[in-house]
Subunit: 102 residues, 2 copies
């Protein structure tokens, strides 16, 4: 089972994700994405869903129109693990390929 | 522009959606869907996204794993309109075709 990130490992992992913040009241990270429109936002979600299913690690996410608010945490570990960091990095890579991201 | 539902029209429309509730603090309807797993839940979202894009009317929705919490309201009208009712009916029809829905 994946272990919770602590100490310098955790600091290093978070330093690599400058667009993510710590969620309030729980051991999780969160980021808001904005796209040009719903179609672009949902295409991003579809690409992320495929990765998430392969990882068997799923985001908590809210969408309305072009907005997606994502929170990542590892339920089984009760907090942030490398699974969350890996998924966040892959999401950012996908969003970076999308010129309409704001 | 679509007009807000009021009076008997509104009552009749809501009576046709027994699995939906009025959202707290705003003129909107809400429903929680549960599916067998993430893949099934996201396939439902993908089908809904296509309909929403055709209607140019988009849900507010939260997903984690097999759960989807949906809120529908018409931003331009400042409340519930027939667009929301139409989208809710189509979502329920899609979910009803999915035997794993709980």
């Amino acid at each position: 089972m994946m272990e919770k990130l602590t100490g310098p490992d955790r600091d290093r992992a978070l330093a690599g994700l400058p667009d993510w913040s710590l969620a309030e009241g729980r051991d999780a990270i969160t980021r808001k994405y904005r796209f040009a429109d719903f179609k672009t936002a949902f295409a991003f979600m579809t690409a992320v869903a495929e990765i998430a299913d392969e990882m068997d690690h799923h985001p908590e996410w809210f969408n309305v129109y072009n907005r997606i608010d994502v929170t990542l945490s590892t339920h089984d570990a009760g907090g942030l693990t490398m699974l969350d960091i890996d998924l966040a990095v892959q999401m950012d890579e996908l969003a970076a390929g999308e010129p309409e991201t704001a």
